[in-house]
Amino acid sequence: MNNALRKLGQLALVLFLVTLFTALLVSLLPGDPAEVIIPFGDESDREALREELNLDDPLPVRYVAWLGDFVTGDMGNYYRQSITEPVADRVTQAAPVSLLLMLYAQVLALVIAIPLGVITAQRAGSFFDKFTNTTAFGILAIPNFVLALVLSYVVGVELGWLPPQGYVRFSNDIGEHFRSMILPSISLAAGQVAVYMRLLRTDMVATLQEDFILMAKAKGLSNKRVLWRHALRPSSLTLLTVAGLNVGTLVGGALIIEIIFTLPGMGVLIFQAISERQYVAIQSLVALIAVGYVLVNVFVDMLYAALDPRIRSARG
């Protein structure tokens, strides 16, 4: 119980700091947001917009006003020259796209990295180990936007195997949905594979030296069973931690990938909001991502306990 309260406190603190810094940064942008949002209309329209956005108030007042709205579930509006729509509406459209992209990328990275990590750990120093490491680090060195562009062009345009861009909703056509997500997911996952694989390999190599592994072997169990049932679970805590923290990197990566593959996700939304100086929207979107990030890491924390009974009893 105590633990849950502490987590909640942490969540509040993280949100406060993240949004405060976002507010500060946005306020540093030169120019008048009203000018950017309504470049050609009447000065009176701009005046009205300034009024609505409290643009004439000092930053602390604006920040407190926004915070009050956000915690009560009002994410503010997204302003266009003609229409004004609530940010919340756009988020409900965009969030699933980004979440699915990050989920697929994360799952793909783990599905590739875990077996490779286990096998390279078992054959540490072998040709396979060295080859896999070199290849993975080669891929890690390629920025994800370069990989995305190359994949989009080669696989999407030249070979025509998969759509080079565009998004199909899961509810519209499941097959097409997955086809549209393959290239973005690969682009986003590729760099993570090397990181996850190396982390798992390092921990596995250490675990394989443990006495309980020798004892498992002395029981006559198959190599496979020793590796997957005895060694993997106690070796996976670091991987889990980093996979949780990595959600932050994925958010940043997803933003670029979404733009390249024209996926209507949070990345595109934030990009637009920044370039259009929608400062209320920016603050709300960033805050939302921060909430998601903290929640993922709370979940990871709970997974520790599931993986290691010693942590469970220490928390009692």
Binding site: E210, D211, F212, L214, M215, A216, K217, A218, K219, G220, L221, S222, R225, R229, H230, R233, P234, L307, D308, P309, R310, S313
Partner: protein, 367 residues
Amino acid sequence: MARRRIVAEPSKDQTEPLLVVDDLHTTFRTPSGRVRAVNGVSFELKQGRTLGIVGESGSGKSVLSRTIMGLLPSNNVEVTGSARYRGNELVGAKSSVLRSLWGSELSMIFQDPMTSLNPVMRIGKQITEVLRHHLDMSNDEAEDMAVSLLRSVKIPEPEKRVRQYPHELSGGMRQRVVIAVALACGPHLLFADEPTTALDVTVQAQILDLLDEQQRERFMSMVLVTHDLGVVAGRAHDIAVMYAGRIVEMAPTRTLFQNMRMPYTQALFESIPKLDLPSHTRLTVIPGRPPDLVNPPTGCSFAPRCERAQARCLEEQPPLMEAETPDHRYACFYPVGTPEGDEALAENRRRGYQAAGVPVMIQEKAS
């Protein structure tokens, strides 16, 4: 998945020992050179007998038991010689053959129960997996068996323990679990590698008594590896003393204690603290360190630390010789309790140092 259980054929000749080790060598290739951890060890072990292997740290005793089991990593290790279990050669055997013997015919108890159980697996699971693997038991059968195994190693409330994790048990209890795992499939040969070294003194005797009792009940053969002569004194039928990868003296327990020939055995024996000496008596120690196994000395490997060492000991490796007492062998040119030995000791004391130049104390020792 059904598994074949490859059972080693019982040999026709009933007197043929269960385990025959012949000129076994284990060499580790390390960056600093070849480490000869086991250097020509031979012995036999009959069904139902306990062999105590005694030696200092680094004498090769643990490596010896792992070599016989075939549990050493395959890279950078060379094993030559022979170890036959019921007539089946274990050295160089295929890993599938070894795996079918491990846990079912040959079992091992490890030194440290704090690290030899998987921390993230329930106690019950760690016992049932070996039963299901080798004996093709169903889950329920295996669980019942696990509970009765825990009961037989005297763990209270076994039904509750099978649901617990290792960290919820004390060191002594964990070692009992390790023993239960090792005994689960009814092995014929049990290696106990310093089974009580990591435990409290109060628990040590209990664990050793438990092993003793199980060994007699099941008529198993046991190899009890320890650095403590006191541990094997009342429990092993035979004792082999190891030094620098070789057996330097081997005899039935009573013979060894009454008639020890090898100065190293005597030194080990004298380094056991005696309760009847007044308190604050200095502990008797063996001066120096075990030899470097990369460049072992040419002659007797104990010579640099031996009070009796003569020039010959530094040049020539003493072979394992038969003593007058039956089944007793030792490797020494100037053995304890013989005229030559006494003369060598007396001469070194007169000189004040032995052949390797190490000072020899004049003061009298019981010898």
